[in-house]
């Protein structure tokens, strides 16, 4: 009997290691109590009887163990119980030595209030949740400015120019994301005549101005961690693209570049014109992408397993949206990378005809 149960005891001792680390002490105690009962109540056993009892008891217990372990591995509460605090956090953030940036922890404050609190990658896998989450920020901005304009109206005052501008900017961004054409300006006639309706003027943007402004804002926000450089060939590069869409496109690419570039790295933005086409190359010194990652990079809600495993925040939506916006504005995007040697994103637009001719 004892020899029959020995391998099972070994299994349960191994399980103890896992379960007690996961906090399932009650289940463990229950399991041992059941085993003890089995041993005590066993009549002079035949080998067959022992096997039968073992099967009757052990399989349900093993199943319970499996269920418990599986549920713990998926449970949100797991995040609150993890004990591997600092090492795990650094590793899950792509190995960045962020501790160098942090102030020293006061002595005696070893236990952190929430341990590792971030949700695991599984929390970011539902595409509907991803889309909803991505929309919450612009929706909030829209709602906040609407509230401010409405509040001014209730007071009998004119709305602030800044609030109206914020509202218009965010509305345009939402429309761009939804693939809607730019609205006709309120001051413009709806049509010049019923017989010959005039087409809305083609959108036009200066790439140099858009990029210079953006890079400067990223430099202010992230300049302490990565170097940002902008070089343009020419004082102006006009392209036939909606300025709001351009902002979103370059913000998405710059967000990724900054996010995946380790501290001390560099993000370079170069703009040039070749054969009536404007080229913007955004390169970084991050980890780069494998060929497989490049193949899926524009797939909606797809995230590279390595980035997800490393806990790098993201929803896998930015590059897909970027590609859509570019195509709506006559542009194209391509990726070039070698793992470990950064990523180079090339964006191409036709130069605006009236200026480029």
């Amino acid at each position: 009997m004892a020899s029959d149960l020995f391998p099972l005891l070994v299994v349960f001792v191994a399980a103890e290691t896992v379960i007690s680390r996961e906090g399932g002490r009650f289940l463990l105690l229950g399991t041992y109590a059941g085993l003890a009962l089995l041993v005590v109540l066993s009549p002079a056993p035949t080998e067959a009887a022992t096997r039968s009892q073992v099967l009757r008891f052990v399989w349900p217990a093993a199943a319970a163990l499996g269920v418990e372990l599986a549920s713990r591995s998926k449970s949100p509460a797991r995040a609150f119980e993890s004990r591997d605090v600092r090492g795990d956090r650094v590793e899950r953030n792509g190995g960045r030595d962020r501790d160098a940036l942090l102030p020293p922890t006061p002595s005696g404050v070893g236990a952190r209030p929430g341990a590792d609190v971030r949700p695991g990658p599984e929390a970011l896998r539902d595409p509907r949740a991803e889309v909803l989450h991505d929309l919450k920020s612009p929706l909030t901005v829209l709602r906040v400015y609407s509230d401010l304009v409405a509040e001014a109206a209730r007071r009998g005052e004119l709305p602030s120019e800044a609030h109206l501008a914020g509202l218009a900017r965010e509305m345009a961004l939402m429309e761009s994301l939804a693939g809607m054409p730019p609205r006709t300006p309120a001051s413009a006639p709806l049509a010049s005549s019923p017989a010959a309706p005039s087409a809305p003027p083609a959108p036009r943007s200066d790439l140099v101005r858009v990029l210079a402004t953006l890079v400067e804002s990223y430099r202010l926000a992230h300049g302490g961690r990565v170097r940002l450089e902008f070089v343009a060939e020419g004082a102006e590069i006009p392209v036939a693209a909606d300025p709001v869409a351009l902002q979103r496109v370059f913000r998405n690419v710059l967000d990724n570049a900054v996010k995946y570039t380790p501290a001390g790295g560099q993000v370079r933005v170069r703009a040039s014109v070749v054969a009536q086409h404007a080229f913007v190359v955004i390169s970084d010194t991050g980890a780069g992408m494998t060929p497989d990652e490049q193949k899926h990079a524009f797939t909606f809600a797809w995230r590279s397993p390595s980035a997800a495993a490393a806990g790098v925040p993201g929803r896998g939506i930015g590059l897909g949206v970027t590609k859509d916006l570019l195509e709506q504005n006559g542009g194209k995007i391509s990726l070039l990378s070698e793992p470990g040697h950064g990523l180079e994103v090339t964006i191409m637009f036709p130069v605006a005809k009236e200026a480029g001719a």
């Binding site: 949100p76 962020r98 940036l101 102030p103 006061p106 929430g114 989450h133 919450k136 906040v144 602030s160």
Partner: protein, 129 residues
């Protein structure tokens, strides 16, 4: 009502919008889209209230909150999370890492103002008995 509020959100438009709302109540609002830069700024010159997004590149809002809570100068700083994370576990986590309050996006301007008024009114001015 006055005081300085620091807003951290990786979306600069959100920082601007929150600043537009809170400035109506006389607050001076500073902001940052980079959480690490924000941490330095907050530790260098603690505001009356810290408003934090959660999902950000680099330090998340939760991590930033924990660090701020460990520092003597900012241990009692009120911290309001503004986040799209609406699940109960997220609200619990916000409190566990030391957050004072939690407001889910999309929120109304009036609710933000009300919460900020309550949080700043409950904060004793540093140096007062």
């Amino acid at each position: 009502m006055s005081g300085r509020i620091f807003v951290v959100d990786d979306d600069p438009a959100m920082v601007e919008a929150v600043a537009a709302v809170l400035s109506l109540d006389g607050f001076d609002v500073d902001g940052a889209s980079d959480s690490t830069a924000a941490l330095r700024a907050v530790l260098r010159d603690p505001p009356a209230l810290l408003v934090l997004d959660v999902n950000m590149p680099g330090l998340t809002g939760w991590e930033l909150c924990e660090i701020v809570r460990r520092q003597p100068l900012t241990r009692d700083l009120p911290i309001l999370f503004l986040t799209g994370r609406a699940e109960v576990r997220d609200r619990i986590t916000a409190m566990q890492v030391g957050g004072t309050d939690h407001l889910t996006k999309p929120f109304r301007a009036e609710e933000l103002r009300a919460r900020v008024r309550a949080l700043t009114a409950a904060t004793p001015v540093r140096g007062e008995a």
